[in-house]
Structure formats: C-alpha cells, structure tokens
C-alpha cells in the first residue's frame, strides 16, 4: 500500500500518458496525486500544497511552448525542476577555513549525530587529507563518550574527552586548544541530543556555539522524520542559526520528505547524506541527484563516482569489451566482487542505478553471500575460471567439495553466472530510455478534496 514517492509520482504521470496536452483537468488530477504522494512521503502538508500549486502554475503556463514534448514527460521535467529548486539548486560545500576549522554538530536524540561525527572525520581524513579531532561533548547519555571513542579508534582519528567534566563549553574550548597544540586542523564537536523545546539544553548549545564560534554548524536530521521536521528545524535554526543540514539513515526505505520540508522551512542547504553504519558511507548532498532519486530516476552520478573511486578506467574498458563479446569469465567476476565489496553496502549501491530502487525493494542482497561465491571461484582451476564452458558435472563435484558447498549450490551459482552474463551482454546493446525507466503505476481516482478521494 505504501510505495515510494517515485512510485506515486509515476502513477501521477501515468495519468498524463496518452493525453496529448496539459489541460486544467488532467493537470488537476495528477497534481492531486503528486500532493498525496508528497504528504505520504512526510513532506509537510503545507509545503506540499505550496509546491504543487507552483507545479500546476508552471504546467499550465508551458503547455503551448513545447508542443513536441509529451505532457507526461513535461510534467516530470517541471516537477523535477521545482524539486531541485526547492532543495537548493547547486551543491553546497562545508566551510573549513579556520585554523583549526571548528565544526559543531547538533540535533535531536537518536538522529545519528555521533555516527555522523565519525563519518565526517573519516571523510575529511580520507578524501580531503585533513587531520581531524573528534570532541565528545555529550556529557549526558550513558556511554556516549565511549561510543565516540570506539568510532575514533575504528577510523584512527584522535578523540578529545574529559570524563567527569559536565561542562560542554569548557570541554569544547579545551579541545580547540588541544587541536592547536597538536597540529590538528579540523575540530568536530559532537553534542548531546536535545529537544527543541528543552530550554535549558537549547541554552547550553547556544553557549557552546558562541564560545567556540564554529566555521560550520551542522544540524543532523533523521530522514525518517515526519511532519514535525519543520518545527524542529526551525526551532534549532532560531537558536543556533546553523549553516547546513545532514540527512541520516537514508539507506532505509523512507521516502525522505523531511529533506524537502527542512530545506523549504529554513532555507539552509543539505550538505551531507549518510547511509549505513559503516564509516565510509557518507556522501555530499547534490540536490539534483536527490530530486532524480525521488523521482525514481536513480542516482546514477553518485553511483558512477563511487565506482570510479574503485575501478580504474583501463580495467573498465577491458571489461566492457568482454561483456559486449559475451566473454565475461569467473576471473572477471571475482575481481568485480572484490571491488564491489570495497564500495560499501551493496543494496544501497544498487539502489542508485536508475529503475533499480523499485525492483530491489524486497530483494535480499546478502553481502556475505559474496564469501560463498568467492570460495566457489577460488576452488576452480585457473583454466576453469577463464573458460566457464569447461565446467562439467564432475568438475562441479570437485568444486563443491573443495569450497565446502553442496553440488546444488555450485550448480545454482554457475547458472546465475550464465544468466548474468547473458543479461549484461543484452544490456550492453540496449540504449537507456528515460520514459521507460518510469514504469509501473496505478490509476488515481479523482476526488473532491485536498487529500480525500
């Protein structure tokens, strides 16, 4: 019953397929569906209304200009453009100008501040060659300091802490002095989770901010947040006037309407998205990619960039050639698996491919299944790996025994490999077609009211 925002928008656009122009009537129906989809996606209901009003205006205003474009495609483009505009136009970067640069992290309880702090430190260290210092200023939650300490150890980043000291202002100031003395150039201050209506705690974070004058104050929001995102984002902004927003837990199936609500309400850019519990799953936020993703067009650019960080170009060219000639072998497959494993959580990765996120929703992608596959391939002779057609029943039996699998498992894997090889071969000859990506929809029933049918 509850589908992703993109599915819902698909169904809205489906209404326009077959119609040859945008009219007051057919636009009204799809607009209603878009608005319902946005509210279902947790976009604040007032914002959803304003957004769709704007889309409607644009849709009716452009109908005669672009006669050659199909109305459904035109609606997609309008919604897409408006979404991008709403979410901030271009990418905003983190400001790290100070010496040291100070970054303050704030947010509600459980939004993912500590995990994000660790990821940010890792990102700055690995991508920007900085020397970060993590600072444990959550003096309230049991074991919060330990949690940051453990994360620091995992990513090999020093953690500044003063167990027993209950004054976050003092700890943060001491940490900055410590960073200066030890040549650490970015100070990331993790703070306790707090409710926007908790006056004492909000005064505390304001005091921390004014004491350490951070270059960058980031507000961390759980992407699953509902209608209240607007209130919280505004309340925090009123007190600490943050510079940017971080969206966490985007690896779930949330439709992420909070992203729209927050951006719309406070006008501050979303600077990072965080998905997964591994320390290397932090991404810079690109509004256009996010809009594409929301519209079910996948996030191909992020995928490509992630892949580029791991694959080298020559290797990719070589593989492409092999795929086109249908010559992919187990050696290639093994090296692909190993590369993919370096790239992070497979499901979130695949979700970035256009059209894949919908297909993958209920699919089990088992990262550890790779281990079995690896074992099977490693139990083959080099000759078998290079020439999959060589593998007959007696060879399969040997491979099964050698890799500690049953014959069925080896059979299943070899079959899967054959299918994949065929599919990739086919896909390599197929041009990507944008309208086809947006498939699958239901009809919508026109209703008399805003959301009711």
């Amino acid at each position: 019953m509850f589908n992703n925002l993109s599915d819902r928008l698909d169904s809205a656009f489906k209404l326009l397929k077959g119609e040859n122009r945008l009219t007051e009537l057919n636009v009204a129906d799809s607009i209603k569906e878009i608005r319902r989809a946005l509210v279902d996606a947790d976009v604040n209901y007032k914002i959803a209304k304003e957004f769709t009003d704007k889309v409607k205006e644009k849709a009716l205003g452009t109908q005669n200009v672009l006669k050659s474009v199909k109305p459904g495609d035109l609606m997609v483009k309008i919604v897409m453009d408006e979404l991008v505009a709403l979410m901030g136009g271009t990418a905003a970067e983190i400001n790290l100008k100070g010496k040291p640069a100070v970054v303050l992290i704030a947010g509600l309880q459980g939004s993912g501040k500590t995990t994000f702090s660790g990821k940010l430190a890792y990102y700055l260290k690995s991508q920007q060659k900085r020397n970060p210092l993590l600072v444990a200023c959550d003096v309230y939650r049991p074991a919060a300091i330990d949690q940051l300490t453990v994360l620091g150890q995992q990513i090999n980043v020093p953690v500044y802490k003063e167990p027993g000291n209950n004054d976050p202002v003092q700890i943060a100031l001491n940490a900055i002095a410590h960073a200066k003395a030890h040549n650490l150039d970015v100070v990331i201050v993790d703070t306790a989770g707090r409710l926007a209506i908790d006056e004492t705690m909000m005064k505390e974070i304001a005091a921390v901010k004014s004491a350490i004058t951070p270059q960058e104050t980031l507000f961390v929001v759980d992407s699953m947040t509902g209608q209240d995102a607007v209130n919280t984002a505004k309340a925090f902004n009123d007190v600490i006037n943050y510079d940017g927003v971080v969206l966490t837990k985007l690896d779930g199936d949330t439709r992420g309407g909070a992203a729209l609500s927050v951006k719309y309400t406070v006008g501050k850019p979303i600077k990072f998205v965080s998905q997964g519990e591994k320390m290397d799953t932090l991404d810079v936020f690109y509004p256009d990619r996010m809009a594409q993703r929301i519209l079910g067009m996948g996030d191909i650019v992020s995928f490509v960039e992630k892949a580029q960080a791991q694959f080298d170009e020559k290797e990719v060219a070589r593989l492409e050639k092999k795929i086109r000639k249908n010559q992919l072998d187990f050696e290639d497959f093994l090296s692909q698996i190993r590369t993919l494993k370096k790239m992070g959580d497979l499901k979130s990765l695949m979700g970035m491919i256009p059209g894949m996120s919908k297909a993958l929703r209920d699919v089990d992608i088992n990262d550890s299944a790779f281990n079995r596959t690896e074992a099977i391939i490693l139990s083959m002779t080099p000759e078998e790996r290079r020439n999959p057609d060589l593998i007959n029943m007696s060879r399969k039996r040997r491979i099964a025994a050698g890799s500690g699998n049953t014959l069925d498992q080896v059979n299943a894997f070899v079959r899967q490999f054959e299918q994949m090889r065929k599919m990739m071969h086919k896909m390599s000859k197929m041009p990507m077609n944008f309208p086809d990506i947006m498939g699958g929809a239901r009809g919508a029933v026109p209703g008399r009211n805003k959301f009711r049918r």
């Binding site: 074991a143 759980d222 947040t225 209608q227 209240d228 929703r361």
Partner: protein
C-alpha cells in the same frame, strides 16, 4: 506543542499547558466557527480535521478512514454543536484504537504466568531502545521484581556499556558477553542466567537495525528462536520501540519487524517533544498491535503506561 499534557508531572504540565493553549484554542475555535449554525459536517470542518490529523503524522489512509467514520456517524445521529462534534471525533478515534481488541495495561508488567517473563526489545537505530529498557527495568524494580538486562546489541559502539550503566542506575542484574559477540548466544544465555538466578524478568536489548536490511532482520528472527530454544514460549513480549518524531516510515518499520519477530507491543518514545506520534494510531489499527508504553522524558521515571482514552482526550480536550 505535544498534546500529551495528561502524562506529565504537575510542574511540567503547567509549562506545557501554556504552549498547548494556542493549539487548543485554534482547533476548537476553528471547529466552533466552522460548525456554527450548520446541521451537517461540511467540507470546512473536514478540511480542518484533515489538517490536524495529517500534521500529527496520522497519515493519509488513517486520516481518510477516521473522516469516513465521522461522516457515517454524523449521517446517523446529527450533531448540533462544536462540543458534540468534538465528542464524536474523540469517540471514533478511541474506537479505532480499541478495534484491535486489547485493553490498556493496568500495570507496567503484562500478565504472563511464567517465570521468568522474557522481553525482547527491537527497533530501528536511534529510537531509544536502550533508554526504554532502562526505564522499564526501573518500573519493574520498583515493584520489587528481580530483573536482568541482556546486552544483545553487540554491534553498535559502546552499546554494551550504555546498557550496563542503566543496570547500575536501576540496581538490577546485567548479562553480557562483550562487544562483537553472537547476539543470539547472548540472548540464549541471558534467559539461562535469568532461570538460574531466579529472576522474575529478563529484558534483552538488540542492536538498532533498519527494517530494510533483510540479513539483519533474519538475525533478529534467529535471536528470537534462540530465546525460545532455551525457554519454550519465550520471548513473552516482543516490544517494538518507535520514535514519535518518525513519519509514515514507522508503518513500514512495524510491518517488517512484525514479520521478523511477531511484535506483541509498541512503545512510543520522545513524546515530550513537539512531535505528536500520530502514526501510532494507524499502526495500532493496521497491525492490531497495542501501544503499551510511552516515553515522555529523559529521566528514569519518564515511562508511562499508554492509555488510549488519555491519548485521544489530550488530542481534542480543552
């Protein structure tokens, strides 16, 4: 402001009432204005109601369901005043929450004629599982029960320490095998510990996991099975913790966690903020899982028994 004024201690209630004043006046005011001189529910009233429910995260489907019920009810027995309409709204939502055939708890401890009673606590990351466990253990301890907490969140950094600190605060037993150990084994041995040490209650913490991670959900089923292996019939309560600030995704959470572990009860946390937790109405309705506990603050005594009357009354009461 939260509409959970009923659940707050007196000193806090006063502060909250000030904030609530505005919300109430505006809703009732609008309602009164919208129904003045009319004998049927018109679009204006329904729009207002729709906005209120949707802005509380009740969700489209449940909102539509509630409105349909009200329309049907009003068609049957016509209302005359805003006060009567207000009454009807309240009735219908209570009824929706009652349809799952479960009574509100009278006591923190659900009745189970077993020894020990085993709780397994599940939920996505950051909803407040460990905190809820600490508060729940404290309530049981106040009743003179012997409680053990089992640290089966062996994954998140320092999760074991966090639970241990709670057990020290409460003054109850604590069982752990340390970080990065097999959570199913920890769960099994926690039950074993509870049996051997004559504990009344064992509460097992699990690592937060997004419901879309199928392998992690399978792990949860495995933990549950290993509990049952040590004590047939256990866990007697599978408590799904939901964050009141979560929007419609909470429904997916309920769906997947129920599939993996047959959730028996919900705890709704962080209701002391501005979020209203309306999504719980839809969940309770769709999945027939009762809401049993609500978290209304960070202090150890800020866990309360859910009361649907109070929940709905505070949504609409003056």
């Amino acid at each position: 402001m939260s509409f959970f004024s009923k659940f707050f201690s007196k000193e806090k209630k006063e502060d909250l009432d000030k904030g609530l004043e505005k919300t109430k006046t505006s809703f009732l005011g609008k309602l009164a204005k919208a129904v003045a001189g009319k004998s049927s529910v018109d679009e204006e009233v329904l729009d207002e109601l729709e906005n209120i429910l949707i802005s509380s995260d009740v969700g489209l489907d449940t909102t539509i369901k509630i409105i349909q019920r009200i329309e049907a009810r009003v068609a049957r027995d016509k209302y005359l005043s805003a006060a009567e309409l207000n009454e009807i709204l309240r009735d219908e939502i209570v009824q929706l929450l009652s349809d799952n055939n479960t009574e509100d708890l009278e006591d923190f401890l659900p009745r189970h004629d077993v020894h020990p009673i085993v709780f397994m606590v599940v939920g996505v990351n950051g909803v407040g599982k460990t905190t809820t466990i600490g508060k729940l253990a404290w309530q049981f301890k106040q009743q003179g029960k012997k409680v053990v907490l089992g640290a089966a969140d062996t994954f998140r950094a320092a999760a074991v320490d966090q639970l241990k600190i709670w057990s020290e605060r409460v003054g109850c037993d604590f069982f752990s095998k340390g970080m990065n150990t097999d959570p199913a084994a920890v769960a099994y041995e926690t039950v074993q510990y509870a049996i051997q040490n004559q504990c009344d209650i064992a509460i097992i913490d699990t690592a937060g996991r997004l419901h879309t991670k199928i392998n992690l959900m399978k792990e949860l089923s495995k933990i549950k099975n290993s509990i049952a292996k040590r004590m047939p019939g256990a866990p007697h309560e599978v408590l799904l913790v939901l964050d009141a600030t979560t929007g419609q995704n909470a429904i997916e959470q309920a769906r997947h966690f129920t599939e993996a572990t047959e959730v028996t009860a919900l705890a709704l946390t962080k209701l002391d903020g501005t979020a209203k937790g309306g999504v719980a109405i839809g969940i309770s309705d769709q999945f027939k899982i009762p809401i049993k506990y609500i978290g209304v603050g960070e202090a150890i005594d800020k866990l309360q028994i859910f009361n649907k009357r109070a929940f709905v009354n505070s949504l609409f009461d003056q």
